[in-house]
Each structure stands twice: as structure tokens, then as C-alpha cells.
Symmetry: C2
Subunit: 156 residues, 2 copies
Amino acid sequence: MGTKYTGNASEVRALDAYIKLMRAAESVTTRVSRSLQPYDLTVSQFGILETLMHLGQQHQNDLGEKLLKSSGNITLVVDNLEKRGLIVREKCLEDRRYVWVKLTSDGDKFIRDLFPKMVTIITESMIVLSPFELEKLGEYSKQVGQNAQKQCAKAS
Amino acid sequence: MGTKYTGNASEVRALDAYIKLMRAAESVTTRVSRSLQPYDLTVSQFGILETLMHLGQQHQNDLGEKLLKSSGNITLVVDNLEKRGLIVREKCLEDRRYVWVKLTSDGDKFIRDLFPKMVTIITESMIVLSPFELEKLGEYSKQVGQNAQKQCAKAS
DNA sequence: TTTTATTAAATTGATATTTAACTAACAAAT
DNA sequence: ATTTGTTAGTTAAATATCAATTTAATAAAA
């Protein structure tokens, strides 16, 4: 939606901010994605590994909620990470509907090495803004995100 | 990346803003996607129709650049819109490497009717912010987006 | 002119993503 | 305890997405 829209003023403002927000997110995601390529990792795979590293073993359900992805999607991405030996699935004994997903020792080493590199990449993209501006960008984004989510709960 | 990262201060700020930016974009996209569902339209399909409505016929190449998508992706999405009779391809006579993509009269009617509805949806998500805040969100997003793109040109 | 290089689009192979079934396991309630 | 409902995960079908390759057409250079 790269074109000027001639509706009422508040729609024009909302649409303009929306377009810029989306482009920023897409551009940074592309940058991250390219940086993960040498490691044969997708952004989604990285997200799961990073979550497991910081929060420890998780149910697939929790991963889906934290990463805003559908359950079917988590199943597939976990499949691919498991094939590669970076994570393992383990039946939950207390409630056998659940599956624990945990890092293997290979996976743990891998993500602990990779994560700081990605932080650097992301910082390079964001650092054009001052600390104050970063703070405000985060604050405004959070409000928009929460509002949009309120209007539309994710499928599971 | 929903977890606190304990690197240096500027990395923490950058990462925090990044996470909120990404979540906002994902949440609004989900909202838009759900709203397009009754019309059997994806966000990408909507993007192409909207671009054609506002800018007139385009080469596939131009669509890819404007929408930040790969050429292979544009080929597929244009395929699906063409099957549905909303757009047509037309060989460019001056330079036969190019293909013109244009709205059919059905497609034109369709997108002219749909676009204002989507503007309303988007506005509903963004309007939690004041005019000033929307302005700033757009400005900061634009800077981040441009910076990220400078660091990483999209594939074509 | 013939070769070389570039560009647009299509194709292929792999992963992602969602929705909509579907199965399995647990919980509640009469 | 059986039915009823809910929840976690899987599977299938459709679309999306990219990178890499290929094909066709144009441009540049020798």
C-alpha cells in the first residue's frame, strides 16, 4: 500500500503509519533471515530455539502462544528441528496430551553461540534510533499490537 | 524473543524495541488476514490488487519491488489472481521480457469495493495512538526500515 | 555479426503458514 | 461409569515464500 489514500484525516494517518510499520518489520525480518541462512536456519526455527534457551523446555502449545503461531505450524517447525538433532520431543507423563520440547546438548551449544550474533545484527538495524526513540517505538508498537490482538485472538 | 536479554544496554534497548515492533506487525497482519478471509483473499493478493488499483498496470518486476517480494513469489500470487479472473497478464510488446499485469473490470470493481473496508479495519487497530504518536511511530519505523534495507537488498 | 552479459519471468525444491478436520487424552457432570 | 465437552497435537490441503536454476529476450561489446 505504497500510495496516498484520500479518505478522512484519521484514516490517512493510520494507514500511513501502518504501511511504514509493516515495511520496517519486513525489512528487518529479511535482514535477520539472510543472516540465519549460513546456519541453515529459518526465522521460525530460530524463534523456537531461542525460546527454549531462555525459558527451558516448553510444551508445543506454549511455543505457539509465545511465538504467535498456529499449532500445526509448531508441529512442522519442531519436526524439522528434531530431524536435525537440535531438539527432542518427550511425552509428558503427568498429562499425556502434552509433549515436552527440549534442546539437545548440540542444540543448546548451537543456539548459545548463535544468539549473540543475531542480537548484533538486530541492534545494527535498530541503532539508527536514539535510546529515547527506541523506547517510544517500542511503546507505540506495543499498544498497537495489543489493540490488534484484542480485536482478533490467534487460532490454535 | 519474549525474554529479557542481559547484554549491554544498547543491545537490550534495540532488542526490546525489535520484539515489540515485530509483534505489532504480526498482530495487525493477522487481523487484516482474518478480515480478508470472507473474501477468499490473502494479504499478498490484496497487496497486488491494491497496487494495481492505485498505480494502474504494472510489470511483475515492479510489483515485486513495491511489495518487497521475490519474483518467484509474484509469479505465483499473480497466477492465483489470474485463475480467479481478477487480473490479466499481457505480453509487453516493446520489450517482450516484460509482462503487464492489469485489473480486469471484475477485479477493479472488487478491489474498489474492498479497499475502504480494509482501511477501516486497519484504522481500528492503529487508532489507539494519537495523531502525534502515529506520526512518530511512522517516522521511527521508516528509519528502521530504510536502515535495514540498506544493510540488505531484497532478492529479485 | 557473433559473443557476452544482463534482465524478466517461470520453474523447482524446500520450508512456512493457516484453517479445518481428526485422534488421543483428560475433565466434568449428571 | 458413561456421556459430553475440552484440550494437545497431528495431518491434509491450500497458499505463500525464498533461493537457485532455467529460459527467453534484450543490450553491449568484441
